[in-house]
């Protein structure tokens, strides 16, 4: 038996309510299924389950519940460990360190010294559970370095600096309030600017090769198979991050934690204001066509509703492109606890020096804003250079 818990959909979420169950009690669910629509003050999200088994004890609809509250119980197949709480996996910060099961056979040998139990006050544990924070990850500031209520509240405040989540049209149960999203963005961005020592790098990139390649690719394909330049930017960034992993991950509790994959949060402006940056998972492993498909789907769902919980919680970096109607360049504000945001301005014809001659080339301004606690400019420069290099050989992407 395992619990299916209210996930933390964005760092500033404290409570949510199930507005729709997409499964019936007694249904068999498997990991990755969307089982519920959860509404936060920022909108309704399709929530996936990461358990296999038979679901029951569904909570009633429209009851406000804190992050971490039990939404349903799942009877696991016999083989599954009873203690597993895979529902937590969708919010990495929630995952508790499971006690190591020691085999009786090896226990007969000299028992391994027990690791020191983290010292967390009962009140801090309780609050952390309510807020969906793993107190084990926190730095304690109480007497004897105990993690106290104040440490949890600080972590929650830091997290609430996080991403404005998604928008949802009224047809889905609504709840999306532009004013509230504005508030969420305000909190997240103010927090970012207050706490993250940003450094900024810019690079002009000759986009001719990429542009020509896209034109050729699209020339003999029906519209639904054509690519947008955005997928080249995504893929080039993903490829570059493979070479510079310290920019792909999170700054948490005073240290860098690498992402478990390259999950690029793609910033999508919403009609009516606000934005959301859901993840394209493992962008480095997707072909350009697959990326295009994901991008279309993501933009469509971001604007009409139906983003998945994992898409909101997983991004390891953000990429923002203001596109053809945007500005020449964009220097982003990092979405905590990520450590970098890559920005792309619009492609413009510019004078460009090739072999000592001034020629006109389509030029793209790429930028990087990165957390100086996690990386230095030298490394940041490598990322932009790698993006540049990748875009010069689009056929390899």
């Amino acid at each position: 038996m395992a619990d299916f818990l209210m996930p933390a959909l964005g760092a500033d979420m404290e409570t949510g309510r199930v507005v729709q169950w997409l499964v019936a009690p007694g249904a068999t669910v498997k990991s990755g299924d969307v089982v519920a629509v959860v509404e936060t003050h920022k909108g309704a999200i399709d929530v996936e389950i990461f358990l296999d088994g038979v679901i029951h004890d569904l909570v009633p609809l429209n009851t406000p519940l804190p992050v971490g509250a039990v939404l349903a119980r799942v009877a696991l197949p016999d083989a599954a460990p009873v203690t597993a709480t895979p529902a937590l996996a969708q919010t990495p910060t929630l995952a508790p360190a499971l006690p190591q099961q020691r085999l009786t056979a090896t226990a007969a040998a000299a028992p391994a010294p027990a690791p020191a139990r983290p010292r967390i006050s009962p009140a801090a544990r309780q609050r952390a559970r309510q807020l969906g924070i793993d107190p084990v990850t926190l730095q304690g500031h109480g007497a004897d370095a105990v993690v106290t209520l104040a440490d949890v509240e600080r972590a929650a405040a830091a997290r609430s600096a996080a991403m404005p989540a998604s928008a949802v049209p009224p047809a889905r149960g609504g709840g999306f309030d532009p004013a509230q999203m504005r508030q969420a963005i305000a909190a997240a961005m103010a927090r970012s600017k207050r706490e993250i020592p940003h450094y900024y790098l810019g690079q002009s990139i000759d986009f001719a090769a990429a542009s020509d390649w896209i034109t050729r690719w699209n020339a003999d394909r029906p519209p639904e198979q054509r690519l947008l330049p955005a997928v080249l930017l995504l893929k080039a960034t993903a490829r570059a991050l493979q070479a510079v992993p310290p920019l792909n991950g999170f700054w948490e509790n005073g240290s860098f934690r690498a992402g478990d994959g390259i999950h690029i949060g793609w910033a999508i402006a919403l009609r009516g204001g606000g934005l959301v940056a859901p993840a394209i998972h493992h962008a480095d492993r997707l072909s350009l066509s697959e990326l295009m498909e994901h991008l279309r789907d993501l933009v469509q769902r971001a604007r009409s509703g139906g983003l998945r919980s994992s898409e909101l919680t997983d991004p390891t970096i953000t990429v923002t492109s203001l596109g053809d109607r945007g500005a020449d360049s964009v220097y982003g504000v990092i979405y905590p606890p990520q450590v970098a945001i890559v920005g792309f301005g619009r492609v413009q014809p510019q004078p460009w020096v090739v072999d000592g001659q001034i020629v006109v080339r389509p030029v793209l301004q790429a930028s990087l804003a990165a957390d100086h606690r996690a990386s230095d400019g030298h490394l940041g420069g490598q990322l932009l250079a790698a993006i540049d290099k990748a875009l010069q050989a689009p056929e390899t992407l």
Partner: protein
């Protein structure tokens, strides 16, 4: 006293006025104890009452606690309203059989047919160099006993008004008057004519740590809170007032605000009232606690006679400040 302006009064005088009021209000009421009449009471609480009410109602007894407390139980059973004074709670152990096996138990044994509306006043506590046999704080022991109510007035107001509430209660009620408080002066609001004997009181509000105490611990905790304030720590001070039944709702509500608790008790730690409060917090308010419960209690020795040793043995303001600071500030 019809003067509407708040007046100042000693704790001793408040106790005396309470007794005088009771004697005037109810002819079934009388005072009995060692040296309460001619001598005026060991701590002079009953001074002048013999002259005013006569030997029928201010009764000097032999030095025989089990006898006169037993007489008090009998008088209460027979319909009188005795106020028995035991010179110090140390001597009350001689009368423990009467208090526990009779006063606290007869209402139960009789299926509620017999009430024991007995009030026993005792002096308690240390701090006046009276040495071990006159300086102990045994109220926590009595708070162990079902069937008793145990009161610990810490303010002039409670000293003035708790007695009437105790006499009105059909159960045996023990009132522990702290020997150091007798000379303390405090305000008395004439507008207040009665107090309850059911609830603890928040004597000072604060958000960082709860100081839970009673009796002579109250002025010490208030002084500690003042000192902590200067350090930027807002201490809340809870005066238990009633040690049995404990008003844990007030204590846990305070801990729910502050998430930290220091219990200050002149009793010893082991098997004590402070242990009981800490245990109940662990049982009922664990998830409110952001730090371990701390206790500032009397050292586990017979209270010494020598002044510097007595001071060292008892909870002092600096000890309370240090305990609270240790919970609030990082080590």
């Amino acid at each position: 006293m019809n003067d509407a302006t708040p007046q100042t009064m000693t704790y001793r005088e408040a106790c005396r006025q309470a007794i005088r009021d009771a004697l005037q209000a109810d002819e079934r009421c009388f005072v009995m104890g060692e040296d309460v009449g001619l001598y005026g009471g060991c701590y002079a609480v009953t001074k002048g009452l013999l002259e005013e009410f006569g030997p029928q109602r201010i009764v000097d007894t032999p030095l025989a606690e089990v006898g006169f407390v037993g007489a008090g139980v009998g008088a209460a059973l027979a319909g009188l309203r005795p106020i028995v004074e035991i010179m110090t709670c140390n001597f009350s152990l001689l009368a423990l059989d009467q208090i526990l096996n009779n006063a606290a138990t007869i209402p139960h044994m009789s299926g509620g047919q017999f009430a024991v509306p007995l009030v026993i006043r005792m002096a308690t506590g240390a701090g006046r160099q009276l040495a071990a046999q006159h300086s102990h704080s045994l109220e926590g022991w009595y708070a162990h006993i079902p069937g008793l109510k145990v009161l610990a007035p810490a303010t002039v107001e409670d000293a003035r008004h708790m007695l009437a509430a105790a006499l009105a209660d059909p159960n045996p009620v023990l009132i522990f008057e702290h020997i150091v408080l007798y000379n303390a002066e405090g305000p008395l609001d004439p507008a207040v004519t009665a107090v309850d004997i059911a609830h603890a009181k928040v004597r000072r509000s604060g958000s960082d740590v709860s100081l839970v105490t009673y009796g002579n611990g109250l002025p010490k905790c208030l002084a500690a809170a003042e000192g902590l304030q200067a350090e930027g720590i807002a201490a809340e001070v809870i005066d238990l007032r009633v040690l049995r039944p404990l008003d844990m709702a007030t204590v846990t509500a305070s801990v729910a605000r502050t998430h930290r608790c220091v219990i200050v008790d002149e009793g010893w730690k082991s098997g004590s009232l402070s242990a009981e409060i800490a245990a109940r917090l662990a049982e009922d308010a664990l998830y409110e606690l952001d730090a371990p419960v701390r206790r500032v209690c009397t050292r586990e020795v017979p209270v010494p006679y020598a002044e510097h040793l007595e001071t060292a043995a008892l909870p002092q303001v600096a000890d309370i400040v240090a305990a609270a600071r240790g919970l609030v500030r990082a080590a």
